[in-house]
């Protein structure tokens, strides 16, 4: 595809690489929102990102931020800053990046899957869900207008093995936070101390409307497992979801609430779709053909 003209999508910060992906002095060609770009690592901690023109030459230079193990850029003038996630600044946490994983679907299908608890008992059997405990208890969603984010609060679900660090089943408490159409995270209450929630993010790089790369930086409280163990657990979970994501039809997200029918457990998905509709984003949205 060619680069999207959708101003809403263009004005978001988008993850385009992970720290460590490119060797010093080297460059890497990729794409955001249909626009080919080149990331060059100009020094140990410095990068340059440029659009690549049709003739293959480097054109306009794009803004860069490196945070949360990722390299972010944008095609437009971002209306919102990168989110603040203070857990990544706490020195005693394990921060894990997981590289990126390719997924052939629209970015919003990834966000919705991440927000969803009802699939745990079917897709994440014996880890995030048990086959005999499938109920999703009522939770609340909020549109936090000061930061223009969607939150889901008071979420609980029974989990046989909620993380690499947990032994045995428990009711896990979750807080979900959608920071942009292309980024979502959760705070997962593993221990008694709610200040020590695990923070798990998904930053999505939409290559095109139906092809994405997903980055999963995490800031985890875990004194036992190595970063590789934690990454392995998270990758295993994500590849269970990936099969679902690639087999949803259509890949583009339908915003018409009669086309895909939600229930109470989908409150966060409903709030997310309303929010997308209200911001009038067009990139990656399913426009049903007139009958």
């Amino acid at each position: 595809m060619t680069a999207t003209t959708d101003p809403v999508a263009r004005n978001e910060w988008i993850a385009a690489g992970w720290l460590g992906q490119i060797a010093p002095g080297a460059s890497h060609d990729t794409m955001i929102l249909g626009q080919p770009i080149r990331i060059t690592r100009t020094g140990e901690d410095s990068y340059r990102i440029s659009e690549i023109g049709e003739d293959g030459s480097e054109g306009r230079e794009l803004p860069i931020q490196t945070r949360y193990t990722c390299i972010f850029t944008t095609l437009g003038d971002p209306t919102r800053p990168l989110p603040e996630i203070h857990e990544f600044d706490e020195a005693d946490r394990v921060v894990v990046g997981c590289g990126n994983v390719g997924v052939n679907t629209s970015p919003y299908r990834l966000v919705e899957n991440f927000l969803d608890m009802a699939h745990f008992s079917f897709i994440h059997v014996d880890t995030l869900g048990a086959t005999d405990k499938t109920e999703v208890l009522a939770y609340r969603t909020e549109h936090r207008k000061d930061v223009d984010e969607i939150w889901a609060v008071d979420c609980t679900f029974f989990q046989p093995a909620a993380s690499k660090a947990v032994k045995g089943g428990q009711m896990t408490r979750y807080l979900y936070r959608v920071m942009s159409p292309f980024s979502v995270m959760l705070y997962k209450n593993i221990s008694e101390d709610s200040d020590r929630n695990d923070a798990i993010c998904v930053f999505i790089q939409p290559l095109t409307e139906t092809r994405c790369l997903a980055y999963m930086p995490m800031a985890i409280v875990d004194n036992e497992n190595t970063a590789a163990d934690i990454a392995d657990f998270q990758q295993s979970i994500f590849l269970q979801d990936r099969v679902i994501l690639e087999n949803q039809r259509p890949a583009l997200l339908p915003l018409d609430p009669t086309y895909e029918l939600p229930t109470r457990a989908d409150a966060s998905s409903i709030a997310f779709r309303r929010w997308l509709k209200a911001m009038d984003i067009r990139f990656g949205i399913y426009e049903k053909q007139a009958a």
């Binding site: 009802a118 897709i123 499938t134 109920e135 087999n247 949803q248 029918l261 939600p262 229930t263 457990a265």
Partner: protein, 220 residues
Amino acid sequence: MAPDQWNAVALDSQIRASSSNPVIVNDYALALWRSASGEVNAWEDRCPHRGMRLSLGFVEGEKLRCIYHGWGYGPDGQCKVIPAHPDLTPPKTICAQRHAVESRYGLIWTNLAEDPHARLPDLGADDGWEAVRSIFLNYAVQDARKAVMDDLVGWNGALSDGDVVTLELPDGTTLAAAFQPVDAGSTGVHFVARGPAVSAEGRHGLARQVVQLRARIENN
């Protein structure tokens, strides 16, 4: 609007009890599923909840369960189970899109028209038909049909054209080829046979001949 037309989409014997299978007809994806008791259903391959392909689901008794959230649908298409809300009776509006389906001559047939009136192709008596095998050719259906006809002309037997191509073999066995238009570049051809050559040994022989037919068509 889908045409009022029956297409063979699988060999009946290969759609097992308690299974859900992906099938594509004219670019339209179907979940072809068979309940534990043997009832065959052809549904749009899309869960009404979040669009998950139902062909990746699993069959529990007479219900098809979506793999994503476990929603369970009865043969009438109605959602009966929503595991996230065990006490909820699912509203009537949650219903899978069903399509007409028939099992005849050892084949499973579907008609995607909203209100189908067309009749199934007539191959005479329904009993005695046995599966030979299915093949898939990288051609649109009209080209695949022509290629199969052109090859069967060289076999020893009497060839007849029709919705289903048939070949009367010298020993009295009828070999029938039914076509599944998949998309612009792919066609399924489902072969069944009736008569003296439908013993296991005879079917092995016919299946090998069909594979050779496929190889000849692809080498042309």
